[in-house]
């Protein structure tokens, strides 16, 4: 009973702290809107060919990746830096709350926040870009599962960044440096065929690639083309990576000065 109670208390504190930072709330939900409007407009240039020549539905994993990648990476990273600078970890080290419980609570806060942002984003995508998706219960369940696991994965990576970076400024710089290349080189907005052949194997190193492939397989590619297997296999890889990042993230959280 103790661990759920501690995680619940930490979740509640984290949730209220987030909701009361109005700027953070505004931009968490405004960011997807900007992305959809900008990229949605570009996607509509499809008849002219160019970068965004695929069907609008192809880019849904990319839109989702924006919030699944950026928000947890920067939020958890900054939170770790903030906790360290305020000596909160020193205090927590003497309480029964473990580092993994702390990270779990932060992850749950991000899952809820980003889940809502993803829902908004998805509605905007369907409304503004004309994307057509598979909307059955299986596809929706897969989408939810992918968002949850993707958020968890990047919360783990954010914890690692926050633990290694010396300050909040350092976290923001590091998370931007990591997130931007990942966003465009993970089969999100740029199809692999548009990249040099020698580079394509490197896409397998990005966790976001498995998110994109899996979400696309679950929501865009036709079922009868054998999309279930990729959706499951990519999900399995994503789960394994998420567990690894969360474990390493929890282990690197500061415990001492």
């Amino acid at each position: 009973m103790s661990a759920p109670r501690r995680v619940r208390a930490s979740f509640r504190a984290g949730w209220h702290s987030f909701l009361r930072r109005r700027t953070a709330v505004f931009f968490t939900f405004f960011f997807p809107l900007i992305i959809v409007v900008i990229f949605g407009a570009l996607v509509r240039t499809e008849p002219t060919g160019g970068l965004f020549a695929e069907d609008p539905g192809y880019y849904v994993p990319g839109y989702l990746a924006v919030v699944v990648l950026f928000t947890p990476l920067s939020r958890v990273g900054s939170e770790v830096a903030r906790y360290r600078e305020s000596n909160r970890f020193e205090k927590l080290a003497t309480t029964p709350l473990s580092r993994s419980e702390w990270l779990l609570a932060q992850t749950l806060v991000n899952v809820v926040v980003i889940g809502l942002a993803a829902l908004l984003l998805l509605a905007l995508v369907l409304l503004l870009t004309g994307a057509e998706l598979l909307v059955g219960p299986t596809a929706l369940a897969a989408l939810v599962a992918y968002v949850v696991v993707g958020v968890a994965l990047f919360c783990g990576l954010g914890a690692i960044l926050g633990s290694l970076a010396g300050s909040q400024d350092g976290v923001i710089a590091a998370s931007n440096s990591i997130a931007l290349p990942l966003l465009f080189l993970s089969e999100t907005f740029v199809p692999p065929e548009m990249l040099p052949a020698w580079f394509r194997p490197a896409m397998g190193l990005s966790p976001l690639t498995y998110f994109s492939r899996g979400v696309r397989a679950a929501t865009f590619d036709p079922i009868d083309a054998g999309a279930v297997a990729p959706a499951v296999s990519n999900f399995a890889i994503l789960v394994a990576l998420a567990l690894a990042f969360l474990t390493i993230g929890a282990a690197t959280l500061p415990r001492t000065d």
């Binding site: 208390a9 509640r12 020193e90 205090k91 003497t94 415990r255 000065d257």
Partner: protein, 335 residues
């Protein structure tokens, strides 16, 4: 008594800086143990070593266990320069920390204890500095710990709030809570602590009960005579050559001129009149007399090598029957 906390030969360095240099101490269950010392003496590092939140050489035992393995329900900590999440109310913050423990105290009762009942629903960032610190103290009390570490708990709290907090800590100590606190307020250490440890340069310079420390290191009582300015000079005139303490004081008391003051040490309060008579006898005018018993601050200044003279009362004069020196340092003379 049973030891709640035992530390042996603790050492911690940060690069070239030695923060702890072989500190050993023991704190009995139910004892209030104060750590005092100058900035950078190692107080916070010592608290961190005792709570297992820094990697120090040596050994620490808290209730018979390593501090990182001890039952954390029994420990409370207020770190130095601690700031909890700023957009939670005082009540929410205490509820948050209370929620991390299985047992503990009622949040509203803790809020009342730290004097925050009326501001319990104010965000932490909107509280005054003293209220914030009291909230932080409350966060260390919510689990009703058996051993409480408080690193400068009253810093930033106004005198009335500080005294209220002292009463709270006295009540906790009376109830059997072991308290280890660091402070820069000597009056706080003297009032609260069963024993005071003076930390200097990463090592314990002295550990004892406050009165024993004062008796051993505090020196003699002191009468400070602020001499009146001489209209023809920039400050008081030199003491006449024939100034001397009366015979009944001469054996036990010393005097010296420090800047614009005459300082007589070793003089009992009942003999102040005799010093006044001696000044009157040689026509020395004065503005004020201040008699002071030695206290923990004198112990601190003595053992840390700091001095009041070095901090302010510059300009040394003569002592005993000698002539005025041309420049510092201080010389003490027998009357």
């Amino acid at each position: 008594m049973t030891a709640a906390l035992v530390a042996e030969d603790l050492r911690r360095t940060y690069g070239e800086t030695v923060a702890l240099d072989g500190v050993s101490l023991s704190v009995d269950a139910g004892e209030v143990f104060a750590l005092v010392g100058p900035n950078g003496a190692g107080k916070t590092t010592l608290v961190r070593a005792l709570t297992g939140t820094t990697d120090a050489e040596g050994s620490v035992s808290v209730f018979g266990a390593d501090p990182r393995d001890v039952d954390r329900e029994r420990i409370g900590l207020l770190p130095q320069e601690f700031d909890p999440p700023e957009r939670l109310t005082a009540r929410e913050l205490l509820a948050y920390y209370r929620g991390l423990y299985d047992g503990g105290r009622d949040v509203d009762a803790v809020l009342a204890d730290v004097g925050l009942s009326d501001d319990a629903d104010t965000w932490y960032e909107n509280l005054s500095g003293g209220q914030r610190r009291r909230t932080c103290v409350g966060s260390a009390l919510v689990n009703d710990p058996d051993l409480l570490f408080l690193d400068e708990p009253t810093t930033g709290i106004d005198p009335a709030g500080r005294r209220a907090l002292w009463r709270l800590l006295e009540d906790l100590a009376a109830g059997g809570t072991t308290i280890v606190l660091t402070t820069h307020y000597m009056a706080e250490a003297h009032r609260l602590a069963d024993r005071v440890a003076l930390l200097a340069d990463g090592d314990l310079a002295a550990v004892d009960d406050p009165d024993a420390l004062v008796a051993e290191y505090g020196g003699a009582s002191r009468l400070v005579v602020d001499l009146a300015s001489d209209p023809g000079r920039d400050g008081p005139a030199p003491l006449p050559d024939d100034f001397a303490l009366p015979d009944n004081l001469a054996r036990a008391a010393n005097w010296e001129r420090r800047g614009d003051a005459l300082v007589v040490t070793g003089v009992d309060r009942t003999a102040i009149g005799d010093v006044v008579d001696a000044l009157d006898a040689v026509g020395v005018a004065y503005d004020a007399l201040t008699w002071k018993q030695p206290d923990l601050e004198d112990v601190y200044l003595d053992l840390t090598g700091e001095s009041v003279v070095g901090r302010g009362r510059a300009g040394i004069a003569r002592s005993g029957s000698g002539s005025e020196p041309e420049s510092p340092p201080v010389t003490e003379g027998d009357a």
